[in-house]
Symmetry: C3
Subunit: 136 residues, 3 copies
C-alpha cells in the first residue's frame, strides 16, 4: 500500500487556479481526473476522434508512469463521446494503443465536454497490482 499523495506531470500540469488534481495515489489505486486532448488551448488531434483518443491515452500513460506505474496497470476506461457515430474510431485507437488483455471499457454519448473542440474524454482507472501484459 502506498501512502496517499498527489502526482504531478510538468508537461500536463493543472492550471494555476485549477480546482482539481490530475492524479492521486490512493493505496494501490492510481486515481485520475477525466482526461481530454486539450493542450495549450487546442485539441491535440484536431477534428479526428481517433487522434484525440490516442492523445488522451498517451497523456493517461504519462500520468500513470509519473505515479510509478505503467500502461499495464490500466484496467478500465469510461469513454465520453460527443457523437456516437465515431465509436469505430475509438475502437481503432484502443486497438492501436493497448496490448495484452484489454481494459474494461464503458462508452456513452454525452451532450458536450468542457470545450467545443473536444470530441472525447476518458476517465481511466489503474492499479499497481494489475498487469495486463503478463500471461493469465
Amino acid at each position: 500500500m502506498n501512502a496517499f499523495h498527489k502526482v504531478s506531470v510538468p508537461a500536463t500540469a493543472e492550471p494555476p487556479k485549477a480546482t482539481w488534481s490530475n492524479c492521486l495515489v490512493v493505496g494501490n489505486e492510481i486515481v485520475l481526473s477525466g482526461v481530454t486532448a486539450r493542450k495549450d488551448g487546442v485539441a491535440t488531434g484536431g477534428a479526428s476522434v481517433e487522434k484525440q483518443t490516442l492523445a488522451i491515452l498517451q497523456r493517461i500513460a504519462e500520468l500513470v508512469e509519473a505515479a510509478g506505474g505503467g500502461v499495464q496497470n490500466i484496467y478500465k476506461l469510461v469513454i465520453y463521446l460527443t457523437d456516437i457515430a465515431f465509436k469505430d474510431e475509438v475502437n481503432a485507437a484502443r486497438a492501436a494503443f493497448f496490448k495484452g488483455i484489454f481494459p474494461c471499457s464503458t462508452l456513452v454519448e454525452i451532450k458536450g465536454l468542457v470545450f467545443p473542440d473536444l470530441l472525447v474524454e476518458i476517465d481511466a482507472f489503474a492499479n499497481f497490482t494489475v498487469d495486463r501484459h503478463a500471461q493469465h
Copy 2:
C-alpha cells in the same frame, strides 16, 4: 486478494475483434464494462426500459458469478438512460431484481448509446467482501 485475471462467459463473450474486456478481477474487486441488453444484434427486452434493465442486471449477475462471486457482491450501479421519463421503469427493475440492502445507484440521462435500440446501459461495481444479503 485474488490475482489479476480476465473472466469470460461464453454466452456473452466479447466479439472476436473487441478492444475491451467484459470482466476483470482486480484484488477483491470485480470490474465490469458497461453492460447493455444487446444480444445477437438486437436489444433483449425490445422497447421496454424495464425489460432491458432486467436483461442487463441478469447479464451482470452472470459475469459476477463467472468471476466466482454473486449478486450479493454488487454494491453500486451507474445507470445511463437515454430518456429520463422512464426512470420509474428502472426503479421497477431494481425492485424486482435486488433483495437485501440495495446497491448505491447513480442515474443520468445521456444523449445516446452504442446502438439506437439501446435505451439503458449499466456500469456495475462488485466486490467479493460485500454481502448485501446478510443482516447488518
Copy 3:
C-alpha cells in the same frame, strides 16, 4: 478494513420505496450514490449551479461524516452538468468548499437529470486512508 454496512443520515434518508442506498462502506471505501441538491421536492440553491453544487458537496460531507470519515477523505468527483456553460460556477463551488489537495474531478455535460430543476449531480468517491488536508 471495515465490515460492509449501510450508512444512514436521517436528514437525507432514502424515500420509503427507494431502490438504492445513499451510502455504503466497502472496506476502506465510502461508496455513495450520485447526489443532487433536491430536498423536500425542490432543488436547494434554485437556478444557481454554484449554489446547487455547494448544497450537494455539503450533503456529500454529511454522508461521509455519518460513515465515520470526513471531507478530507474525498478523493474524486464525477460531475454531471446539464449545461456546460456553467462550468465556472462548478469551479467556484469547488474552490470555496475544498481545502488542501483538490480531489480528482471529471466533468461532463449530460442531457438531463432525474428532475428538471436539477442542474448538476455529483458522484463522489471517498476512502478512509485519504487525507487531503495533511501535507504531502
